[in-house]
């Protein structure tokens, strides 16, 4: 059962990598800097793992590591998306004023 779970994980990984390759290839060099900050913000989804650690039954070491991880990942989520938007606004995307 456990090994089955991991096989599914591998399948998910490979499919996601293909999809990622396909999608990222279409991003023009013009937007490579926003692309990098966007994928960086997206991969900061690891904040959910940090949350489960910081939110589990309190234990000094584990909670400390968890809180630092939550802070670091949140900084990337918030900062990453905000700065991506700041850049994309400059490229005249989404004419919302």
């Amino acid at each position: 059962m456990e090994s089955q779970l991991h096989v599914i994980g591998v399948i998910v990984f490979v499919i996601a990598a293909f999809v990622g390759h396909h999608v990222v290839h279409r991003v023009p060099p013009l937007l490579h800097t926003p692309l990098m900050s966007a994928t960086n913000a997206i991969s900061a989804i690891s904040v959910v793992a940090a949350i489960t650690i910081a939110g589990s039954a309190p234990e000094a070491v584990k909670t400390t590591l968890g809180v630092i991880a939550v802070a670091a990942a949140t900084c990337n989520v918030v900062g990453g998306f905000l700065i991506t938007d700041r850049m994309l606004r400059m490229f005249g995307g989404g004419k919302k004023k």
């Binding site: 456990e2 990098m36 960086n40 939110g55 589990s56 939550v70 990942a73 990337n76 900062g79």
Partner: protein, 469 residues
């Protein structure tokens, strides 16, 4: 369905929604018009995933989470609002460090609370990779940040036996991971030695890499951070982490390959070649010819008399913050009916897309920004090329001098244009330490001085011409 099952299902659904939104968000990033909406979608997915996790039964206390969220949000907002666009490479390096730090800490916490026996070999493998990649990306990115921010010397730091030392540490690192996987009962100390080795390896990996090679390094660290995130997903049986990590990893890898191609070098060469220290490789080329120096007003007259102008920006434009005045010049010329375009080499600047962001910040419409492939054939029909703080990416030696260390690197064919204006601070060679024969060509004119000041002089002179007309 018991309530517990319902809760788990809802969390899984939230993660699934997040995964879909991330992929669609990146897809919409293929066009500057849709990119922003794509990111709104991804943000919504992120929010869904975070709220879902907060509501899951795995979370029993909130106070510490809130502390982390508060600190992270404050820092994130601060960084996002106050980072100037010229400092985007540093910001990116720093965010890779944060991301990798979070991932590594999650791995350490998992190991700390379960131990290898409890985790089983598969999870131990995942945690091993997670902490190894996370650790080296953390310190490696901090090093990259230090070099880009100017806190550390930007030139490569090399010493005798460097590659051997690095290989030894890497072997030790991989050895520790394998040891932990093969014998789960290994003392916990092995794990912490592994953590220490991965941190040390990150520092040593980036130490010998020069500032000019940073586009590759940043992209590569991007890929490592993504893969570390995926490994976390394996360790925690969390699909969304696997997916997001794979997306990030794919993006980082594609960008590093593109950057390497644009420099005609392999990734191994960037990492172990210590390129910047090798001016002796270019010793054979003594370029002969005369340098033609042109005063700013004559250069401006040349520009205002042209029909087609192409601007080639490089890192020098970022250093002197010349993007706004460059835009002013471009507008002035545009008003006179002159066709102005910008030619962006893939490795111009310190990270992929750096120049595009700077020019977009200054308000240059993106349809004026052209990639190397798009514009390279147009130089033939160009009257004046203005090279601002770029050097190696316009060096014809890459095409016609087999002895040159940059031979084979794709360059912008500016030498095909009728005349070339090169704005440069001094005659010092570029980061690769190579003489640029372009500067000695009969159709090349050098304008020495700070790029921003020089372009400002052009603008003033061009205004005078306009008023006189």
């Amino acid at each position: 369905m018991t309530p517990l099952d319902l809760n788990t299902t809802l969390v899984e659904l939230a993660y699934f929604a997040a995964a879909v939104s991330f992929i669609l968000g990146l897809k919409l990033l293929s066009n500057p018009r849709t990119a922003r909406n794509g990111m709104f979608l991804a943000e919504f997915g992120m929010l869904t995933a975070i709220v879902g996790t907060l509501l899951s039964h795995e979370v029993v206390t909130y106070q510490w989470i809130l502390v982390g969220l508060f600190v992270g949000t404050t820092a994130g907002v601060f960084i996002a609002w106050w980072t100037p666009m010229t400092a985007m490479p540093q910001r990116t390096a720093l965010s890779h460090a944060f991301g990798a730090c979070a991932v590594a800490l999650v791995g350490v916490a998992e190991y700390y609370s379960h131990g290898a026996v409890d985790l089983g070999r598969v999870k131990m493998t995942a945690i091993g990779f997670e902490v190894m990649l996370g650790g080296l990306t953390f310190t490696g990115s901090l090093m990259a940040f230090g070099k880009l921010q100017g806190l550390l010397p930007g030139s490569p730091v090399t010493y005798k036996g460097q590659n051997t030392a690095n290989m030894a540490i890497l072997l030790g690192l991989v050895g520790c991971v394998l040891f932990l996987i093969i014998s789960p009962t290994a003392p916990m100390g092995v794990f912490y030695v592994m953590v220490a080795l991965s941190l040390a390896f990150g520092v040593l990996l980036v130490l010998p890499i020069g500032a000019a090679d940073m586009p590759v390094v940043i992209a590569l660290l991007n890929a490592y951070a993504g893969l570390a995130g995926s490994a976390t997903g394996f360790a925690l049986d969390n699909k969304i982490l696997i997916i997001a990590g794979a997306l990030d990893g794919a993006s980082g890898l594609i960008l590093s390959i593109l950057m390497c191609k644009a420099m005609n070098r392999s990734i191994t060469n960037v990492l172990f070649g210590a390129f910047g220290k090798a001016p002796e490789a270019g010793e054979a080329t003594t370029v002969t010819g005369t340098i033609r120096n042109l005063p700013a007003d004559e250069a401006a007259a040349m520009l205002t008399g042209a029909e087609r102008v192409v601007v080639v920006p490089g890192y020098g434009m970022a250093v002197s913050q010349a993007q706004h005045v460059v835009k002013e010049l471009s507008d002035l010329l545009g008003e006179r009916g002159i066709d102005v375009k910008f030619a962006i080499h893939p490795v111009a600047g310190r990270m992929p897309g750096h120049m595009n962001v700077l020019l977009a910040e200054a308000g240059v419409p993106y349809d004026q920004l052209k990639d190397m492939e798009e514009i390279n054939d147009e130089f033939r029909n160009t009257d004046v090329v203005v090279v601002i703080g770029a050097n190696d990416v316009v060096n014809p030696a890459a095409k016609n001098n087999k002895a040159s260390p940059i031979y084979g690197m794709p360059i912008l064919n500016v030498d095909a244009a009728r005349s070339v204006l090169v704005l440069k601070r001094s005659m010092a060679p570029g980061f690769a330490g190579i003489e640029n024969e372009l500067f000695y060509r009969p159709n090349t004119f050098m304008v020495f001085g700070d790029a921003r000041k020089t372009v400002q002089d052009f603008v003033n002179a061009a205004k005078k011409v306009s008023q006189a007309a």
